[in-house]
Symmetry: C2
Subunit: 597 residues, 2 copies
């Protein structure tokens, strides 16, 4: 029978700031102190925690990589100086490989690295082996491949370190763990949120634990960074893949867990090479921090955070994304146009939940085509939420344009939207508010929006939310009235006027306009968009899937032509595989039109 050794590990599920090495280092020291205070034997930070993730082309600047490597060395010393040298810390940062430059290799040969800090020293280093280069990831652009697997003995347990994508792809370090043998695999991650990704992630972590033949501790970043939202959801599973502990979604948390792990059987230290099963060779490095198990102690019960349902999860992601974008870009407040419709009502509510209604400014900008109920519904939201509000009528401004240039039809409709965009931008420039755009994904997909009009702004909270989901989120949020929490301002009444949810959608840019004048019903449209945009189906497949052939032809054309508008759209949080950001890259000049069979 195997001897068991106890280990208390702390996963630091935190929200770093991209590029702020000093602040991230301070946070690392603070959280290490908290972990030590909880009696942890090991603390694991997330992927590239010290630099933040993703840093994009900053890694190609040599001064940045030098700052990162200097910071990790300094951190090791500082932890020891501050009395925290005894607790080993695993931390992600950027390093570089010692490779001669060549065409096709990222400048400076950067590594997505992780270091083990202990007693004032960087004891060992490793780097991500599998580089993701799909979806939002461009890591062949940024990094060269790591080829090491450190396994350090800590209180009699062999602990291996791998980085993020190394869990997702076959072969490489995780396969080598199985061969080399370890009691625990710790994995720093920066894995962005997507709807229902938490389920995929748990299944994956369980499978890899079984393949590696050891417990697995998965520490994930949390927080918003431009279009990405990291959801945390750090996980610990046993060697048989059973869930042991799990951190909250969308919140910082120090997940401290007592584990009983097999005591290491092999005494041999040093390095040896193992075929990684993916055409590469991994160098395993065995080292020892402490040979003998800790004295037996009474473990604390593990913590498994309750998980959010699918709608709550999306809502929390949007709120966190707005909160972090505002804070990390140094804004104090936001401004948006409130029309009385559901898109701007939901956006205002997300903003109120993110930064508090006292920091949310809304502007009502009625035109000659605005209906009475629009202004009423907008005021109703203002009254329910207590946001700052003003009315700026646009009729006279529109008239002043039309005195100088003759505009009709769509050009006249666009003018109204643009006057509104300019008012918001003017107030933003004057008062320093961040402009939130209120367009949803169904509009953005089909180009049913005005460039420099309703698309004007700094952040687009519901850019990746289809219209049918806008309604679902609004109803869900109203049902939370009376509750308060990290993502719910404590509104006593439903914050969104029921009328805004129930009424028929209209842009109100001409008399009696309805969205259905130009677009099909949203449940039909959204299903088609999902198949075309997310699943990349061609027209034959779309028709085979039951979509109306004429509608397929029309919507494909609308979506493809709108690429030019989308390129100039503000960033917004990604909640699906394709948010029209860096996850979907199509030419503007694009003559690809499928013939419908």
């Amino acid at each position: 029978m195997e001897h068991v050794a106890q280990l208390r590990i702390a996963l630091a599920q935190t929200d770093p700031v991209v590029g702020d090495l000093a602040a991230n280092a301070d946070k690392l020291v603070e959280w290490t102190r908290r972990a030590a205070g909880r009696g942890a034997h090991l603390v694991v930070f997330t992927e590239m925690f010290l630099t933040g993730y993703p840093v994009e082309d900053l890694v190609l600047r040599s001064s940045f990589v030098e700052a990162s490597t200097a910071a990790v060395e300094a951190l090791a010393r500082r932890l020891a100086d501050e009395g925290l040298g005894e607790i080993p810390a695993v931390v992600g940062y950027v390093d570089r490989a010692d490779l001669a430059p060549r065409v096709g290799q990222p400048k400076g040969a950067p590594l997505d690295a992780a270091a083990l800090l202990h007693r004032g020293r960087v004891v060992t280093k490793t780097a991500k082996h599998h580089l993701p280069n799909y979806g939002v990831f461009d890591e062949y652009r940024y990094f060269v491949r790591g080829d090491r697997l450190p396994i350090f003995r800590l209180h009699g347990v062999d602990v291996a370190i791998a980085v993020c994508e190394d869990l997702w792809q076959e072969g490489g370090p995780v396969a080598v763990v199985a061969e080399a043998g370890a009691g625990l695999l710790v994995v720093p991650n920066a894995s962005p949120y997507e709807k229902e990704k938490d389920d995929v992630r748990l299944a994956l972590v369980s499978r890899r634990a079984r393949e590696a033949g050891c417990a697995l501790a998965y520490a994930n970043q949390v927080g918003g960074q431009d279009e990405l939202v990291f959801d945390g959801d750090s996980i610990i599973v046993s060697a048989s893949g059973e869930l042991v502990a799990r951190a909250a979604q969308f919140a910082e948390e120090l997940l401290v867990t007592d584990l009983e792990l097999p005591e290491a059987r092999f005494g041999g230290l040093g390095t040896f090479q193992v075929d990684a099963g993916d055409g590469t060779v991994i160098t395993v490095e065995r080292l020892e921090l402490s040979a003998f198990p800790v004295e037996p102690y009474a473990p604390e019960p593990p913590s498994i955070a309750p998980h959010l349902d699918d709608i709550a999860e999306v809502y929390s992601a949007l709120v966190l994304a707005v909160r972090d974008y505002v804070a990390k870009n140094g804004f104090q407040s936001v401004i948006l146009g409130l029309s009385g419709g559901i898109d701007s009502a939901l956006t205002a509510t997300i903003a109120s939940d993110a930064i508090g209604p006292d920091r949310v400014h809304v502007v009502m900008m009625p035109s000659r085509y605005s209906s009475e109920h629009s202004l009423e519904d907008a005021w109703e939201l203002v009254n329910r939420q207590g946001v700052n509000a003003r009315i700026v009528p646009i009729a006279d401004i529109v008239d002043s344009f039309e005195k100088e240039i003759e505009l009709s039809g769509l050009a006249a409709e666009n003018l109204q939207a643009r006057v509104r965009g300019m008012i918001l931008m003017g107030l933003s420039n004057q008062h320093g508010h961040l402009v939130l755009t209120t367009g949803n994904k169904s509009e953005l997909a089909t180009g049913y929006s005005t460039l420099y009009g309703d698309s004007a702004g700094g952040f687009a909270p519901i850019k990746d939310v289809l219209k049918t989901l806008v309604w679902k989120l609004s109803r869900w949020r109203n049902a939370q009235a009376g509750r308060s929490g990290a993502f719910l301002h404590g509104f006593a009444v439903p914050p969104i006027p029921e009328n805004s949810i129930e009424k028929e959608p209209s842009a109100e840019l001409r008399p009696d306009q309805r969205d259905t004048d130009s677009l099909p019903e949203y449940d039909v449209l959204d299903r088609l968009l999902d198949d075309y945009v997310e699943k990349d189906m061609g027209s034959a497949e779309l028709i085979a899937a039951g979509h109306d052939p004429a509608l397929v032809a029309r919507i494909i054309r609308l979506v493809d032509l709108a690429e030019y508008k989308r390129r100039q759209y503000p960033p917004g949080p990604k909640i699906t595989p394709k948010n029209f950001g860096r996850d979907r890259r199509l030419p503007i000049t694009n003559h690809w039109r499928e013939t419908i069979a």
Copy 2:
């Protein structure tokens, strides 16, 4: 002594349309007919000619890849049906590899392929081995690696095929050519223009020919595609690396060249494997189209197109980019704001040269701060070029905004720029003109522009042109007065008013404003921007290079903060390594600030 065999080869330096497989196929047939008419024994088209290049995420759509593979088969038959089956044609297209799906591999395993068409059949296929994933290239996202090297015997000469990047990186197919032996290496390319790249390219092609030990024929795409401009400049060099023939820059051309090549000595056909020297193995496939040399004939003298000087080259690139963007996106005309300053004057001139002054519409939009000379200088350009012009004063419109919201300082300046942007967009929507923005790279870099104001538009011709280069291009263009050609409308007088070139730059958004109120002199600024933006120098390096430390700190801050504006800027032609397009990707939310030592 080696026996020699003659071969007349035709390189089809053409401008395909991305996604228009039918039009590209028609063009291929037409140009093959021209090549046959010239007596060529072989015609070589460019990389991914059949689909256009780059197609970005279209390759991840299975219907697109299926259309490409079907089209290449159909083309082989069609060439034979049209009596062109005897002349072998090498053509680039998209194919797919027969690989099982796995995480990390592009969906559908697409290949950047080239096919050899002959007598109604696709005789052989190959695909790019080295995938560029730097600068504007993301090919690990799109393609899997090819691992073949076809060598076909044509009239007694062994002709090898490699694709584009395989020339740029070490090892792979070109290294294998040396080992396998060939008389000629033909290389389809889609290599975008950058200033002075033609010199680099010739040196590279010469070096690879010497390494491969055979003549090398390099066929490059020409034309504009969104931000990329392909410059043609197809090249043929001898086995010793001497230039034999060269096509024009920025123009379609069928480059027909008679070569004397070594007659093949080996009789063995079939496949064998060679270590490619880059950790991979390449399968060489030898096949035979025709065993014996052609009857000796009198060769035609080779053609070497005269090369443009550096300024003419940039100017031609900008004109071609505008012309293709307008045409390929279905516009008939362009519109832009003409201020009397140099940026809009140069942009208007590029537009006139691209599509003719009769299709260029300019709008003069004087404000209360516009000086007398501005309107005069603008009218002078209108008179010299004969573009369509109108005046739309903005004062009353600006007043109508200021009646509703109080704006001062920068917010009031931005309002004026935005009113102008809205007028242009309104006229664009009403009349179908494409809006050209007139901002230069120095402004774009430092954020010295107004979001949704002067940055509003569909294409930004001088987005990648620093202010000092704006002046150089303007003086150069004026010096061409009286000449006409593909990139020069035949203006009898200098098309740009001298006053626009000579006067001090001002945005004229407040009384007596000068650019130097906010920015250093442009020669100082542009040198600093070049070092920071193009060369990615850190602040210590910049100071060591002689830049003023205070200015370095200020400009770095301006450049970094403007990332958010740049993300919403229209596309524009790339002429440098970093045009603020997909070649430079930085976070918006970015706290990286270097400490100045």
